[in-house]
């Protein structure tokens, strides 16, 4: 089985600040891989570097056996799409849902746009009633569904998820996570998911990588995390923190 996505000794530098210090990882096709760590650990930067939104200083990124250059081509965006953290910031404030979904189709020259938009909206559980709304007429969960529909409309094989539910409240969070899980199973997608919430990662991902200060701390499986078979102190601290505070 070949890796859908592999990152080799990736370095990202912003103004002499090393945000990523030689991180490597490999995600198998159809797998769901988690990235965990505190704020500023570089997990979002890693995702953005893969998407081409953050400049890679050195190292390489390979998608489906093809090494990526500094500039991404159109074919790349049909393979890899991303869902952003904040659904309030990731939808254009002056465009209807219809317009938002049409844009990727227009860019890539799809002819059967009408059908695809219908299907995408159905897939994320938004009926056609939402099609001509502006983003300010949607709730947070609905917005994130639209963002997911937009990412899926080009039928990518790999989906990058940057804390897709951290801006939503708990009940909506579960809905969106279940939706993502269902779509992954149906479409056999590969997920690379960032979260600071260990519960979400253990629920969604088979394997995960713990990050701190732009470096990989350790690689684990979800089972390891549940049974607390961790070797590094940092991961242990994360686990303890995720248990919440205990009333003395």
């Amino acid at each position: 089985m070949t890796a859908a996505l592999s990152v080799d000794r990736l370095e990202v530098v912003f103004d002499r600040f090393r945000a990523l210090k030689g991180v490597s990882l490999e995600v198998q096709s159809g797998e769901s891989f988690g990235l965990v760590g505190e704020s500023g650990s570089g997990k979002s930067t890693l995702l953005r570097a893969i998407a081409g939104l953050a400049p890679a200083a050195s190292g390489s990124i390979t998608v489906n056996g093809k090494k990526l250059g500094a500039r991404r081509d159109k074919a790349f965006y049909r393979e890899v799409q991303m869902v952003f953290q904040d659904p309030y910031g990731s939808l254009h404030p002056r465009q209807t849902v219809d317009r938002l979904l049409q844009e990727p189709l227009a860019i890539h020259g799809f002819a059967d746009g009408e059908k695809r938009i219908q299907r995408a909206l159905d897939e994320v559980g938004l009926g056609t009633g939402f099609r001509f709304r502006y983003s300010h007429q949607l709730s947070g969960g609905q917005r994130q569904r639209v963002a997911i529909a937009r990412a899926l409309i080009l039928e990518p094989a790999i989906l990058l998820l940057d804390e897709p539910t951290s801006a939503l409240d708990a009940s909506v969070q579960a809905e969106v996570l279940n939706l993502l899980e269902e779509i992954r199973r149906r479409r056999k997608l590969t997920f690379l998911m960032v979260s600071h919430d260990l519960a979400i990662i253990t629920h969604m991902c088979e394997r995960l990588m713990v990050m701190q200060n732009g470096e990989a701390v350790e690689h684990l499986t979800a089972g390891d995390l549940v049974e607390r078979r961790v070797s590094k102190d940092y991961t242990r601290n994360l686990l303890r923190a995720s248990d919440g505070f205990v009333r003395a």
Partner: protein, 308 residues
Amino acid sequence: MTATHAGLLSRRDWLLSERPASRMQARLGRAYVAWRRFSANRLAFLGLLIIIALLVVAALADVLAPYSPTFGDLKGSRLLAPSAEHWFGTDDLGRDILSRVIFGSRWTLYVVILVAVIAAPIGLLVGTVAGYAGGWIDAILMRITDIFLAFPKLILALAFVAALGPGIENAVLAIAITSWPPYARIARAETLTVRNSDYIKAVQLMGASPFRIVLRHIMPLCISSLIVRVTLDMAGIILTAAGLGFLGLGAQPPLPEWGAMIASGRRFVLDQWWVAGAPGFAILIVSLGFNLLGDGLRDALDPRSGDQ
């Protein structure tokens, strides 16, 4: 009565629907919300009425004007005071001032619309491209903008007219050339605030070209603040055109342009005040109208005002 009332009500519901069924309905609904916010502002509404009146007067000048704007009775009606026959009096060549003010509205509109049509797109393009591209493209475009901004507007326009020759077309060109830099600045500032937002990043991730992003995703966000600014500037454009006309570098006689009319009335301003007073008052009213309209538009179109 009740039937039409119900009809009106349901049409409003249709416009304000949270679930528009078509692209058209969504767009109309948005326009309706903006219109409601705009028309709630009495002063802005007054401004709109003034501008509509200006348009009507300009369109129907041939019908409304009681006398010819260019030919007068030199023998019998020079410098007559306002009367029932000549509402605004007559000028030194015996021409009816009311007719000249009415026909002058056409030239005012001509100047204002042409300047807006030339200057606003230039400013929008320069500003959004500079803001989105960044780096050396930004540096070059904004330094050019700075050079234009460094000159006082009227002086630069004077220099252009002096080089191009006097005339209303050249005045328009000169004003347009001098009025785009502020628009470029505004468009660039707006672009900088949105260029790193997630929704622009999302479009980049669709594989959109920079050209497409600027044209279809950034420009629409800049347009409303630009419209507001252009409307507020229209008063200034009218005044600059009048200033050039007053200095003899804009409209040439016998064109009934308001600035030029004030210039020719200057000689009699103490004894026959109406010669300069009438076109001056017209400039005042129209400038006021554009200013009120601009203020109202700012409230109605402001992209930052929540529920747009």
